[in-house]
Amino acid sequence: MDFGLSQDQQILRDAVARCLADTSPLEHVRECAGRDNPLSDTIFGALHDLAVPAMLVPEEHGGLGMTLLDAAVVAEQLAYAVTPAPFLASVVLAPIALSEAGTNKQKCQWLPKIARGEARIGVAISATVQARDGAGVQFVEGKLSGTALFCLDFEGADAYLVADAGGRLHLVPALASGLKATRLTTIDRTRSVGELSFAAVETDPLADDGGTASARLRDAGRVILAADSLGAGQAMIEKAVDYAGQREQFGRPIGSFQAVKHMCAEMAARHEPCRALVWYAAHVFDALPEDASLAACHAKSLTGDVHRFVARTATEVHGGMGFTDLLGLHYWFKRIGFDRQVLGGPEAVRAEAAALQGWTRAA
């Protein structure tokens, strides 16, 4: 029994943290965030040196065969440094999808390249959570038609994984004919999303598993978004505490005022249990798959609410300075905003959690 990170995971965490402290300083984040394509090749290169792209690729395909908990550990660090690098879709979801539901040919074609950092795959499964704007992709007579919103790790993807209306996953090369890809911009300029519209596009479908693989992706995605929120929240709390310790008013640091101290304590009290919950949700994804969906819902919805509170409160502790662009605090604020909404906001995710437990009566 050991509820916590293994020594290897701690080493991984520290290595990624050090790497990002070097390669993802705030100036670089600012620069990337100002571009149409924010994803930083420098950072991706450095992560590649740490073998991050190979993490979830099975060993027989040239990867490291690591777990979602390993990925969550990395996600937390990426958010801590508001890193503008592809990760959620291309490093986590795509390898899981291919491993769990890809054909042998797909695996051999893509997994080694992903592991070597030579191929990046964007993932568009948001319609399996909530269809907005009539989005949805139909798989008819071997071809895809319709629209998929919120494709993650959009820029620079060599191919996209898309869930059709039945939940089946399809691999579509970025240059496929009949496919139109449009950039979407969000508050969070450190991530890249886009929409894909399909006009009878040829597809290379993954296993017809009744939506199992796309549901797994949803779970994994939620856990990683929760881990991201955790890392961003951690950074914001630390920044608030530091600022409060330095900034003086009435001749003493504002951090010595009870009201400010209690704001920080409330952030910590709500934030800290999220860490154990995220670890748990990541762990059971591999170790206890039957508990994975519920745990993912809990992790996603709790961090969604807790870190909205943290984002606001940490900004408040900074006063006017937190509202300006000067300290860049808003990059973390927006990263948390992104994590909250993508793949289902807290209310939507809680409704799913209720349904999973049979608490929702058929209408």
Binding site: A131, I187, Q246, T315, E316, F333, Q341
Partner: protein
Amino acid sequence: MDLDYGPQYDAFRAEIRAFINAHRHLAPPSATRFSRPSAEAIRWQKLLIEHGYTARTIPAEYGGYGAAPDILKSRIIAEEFSRARLPSGLANQGISMLVPTLLELGTDEQKRRWIAATLTGEVVWCQGYSEPGAGSDLANLKTSARIENGEFVINGQKIWTSTAKQADMIFCLVRTELEASKHSGISYLIFSMDIPGIEVRPLKTMTGHAEFNETFFTNVRVPVDQIVGQRGQGWFVANATLGHERGMLGDPDALENRLQALIGLMQQESIGEGRAIDNAVLRDRLVALQAEVTAMKCNGMRILSNSLKGEPGGMAKLIVKLQSCEVAHQISALAIDAMGEMGILYHRSPRERDGGAWQWNYMFQLGLIIGGGTAQIQKNIIAERGLEMPREPKLARISDEAKGAAGMQTDRQGAA
């Protein structure tokens, strides 16, 4: 309790509606928040002044309409233009803060020279109050003006000067008596933004826009007669103005408009087969916010009635700013949640709703809540003035050396 305004006022309301119907084609499109008024906007402003729908109680000799104050009529004007979604005239800091100050404390020459031109939008002002180290305590300000050859020579820095880029003029608090006690060493100066030595740097905020600026003064020379009120009395001059600030009254119409927009959004926004408003959890939050907005509207009417009777606004008034900002922020938060993933679109993205207004509001309202420690200050005001709770113990015990050091530290932080 009487919600009717009475026949005289009903007639007045009808008259405004007729005016709006007849002239709405002349109204300027809603302006970007901090731009100079367009020619269209200036024409519209003049038309409104002419009919007494703005600058209503300002004497005609200074370019106003010259009516006797009538709170109800002012209220009806605000209601009708809000309902029609038309600008009820220019709203800028020159009109809301400088003009009342000049009317109360300006010399006759100052009034003649500045009020009319400000009202018509020909002269645009910015406000120079806040400083990096004096956000929550104006008395702490450090921008200095020494006298040299019959001129003030100004050095220092202001922050949150919203229209500094567009402004012709600034009204500004500076420390003229360095040795005087904190509140009494300040003077209220007005001067041109074209004087050499003024540098305006846009201050970008979390919204991604530069709604504010930082303004730096290096040996800026201003004739000594460009002062409003007495030397060393600037703190009191500014405080008279702060009382005029519209924000203190809150704007229940604005809150109601945001709520209506939210209702519309939730009726349109689809989630699968349904609409956002069909989701019981989101709908519950919507109704809760509707109750809050209704309460703030009623609270506004109560304050209005008190003013009509010449009674003080009391607690009803003290809580308006804090509570309105919070409710407005919550309205934006619900809108974002109701949009789901679409809620984070911004920066003119395809599929973005309402031009990204919800996210902009969500962040900007947070800025209003925290800006210069506003929520904290508001809470102190409510506690100390409204509830008569004891003030923080005086800081007189801290030695002056410590204070000096702290001040510098503050400065460095502020400028960081």
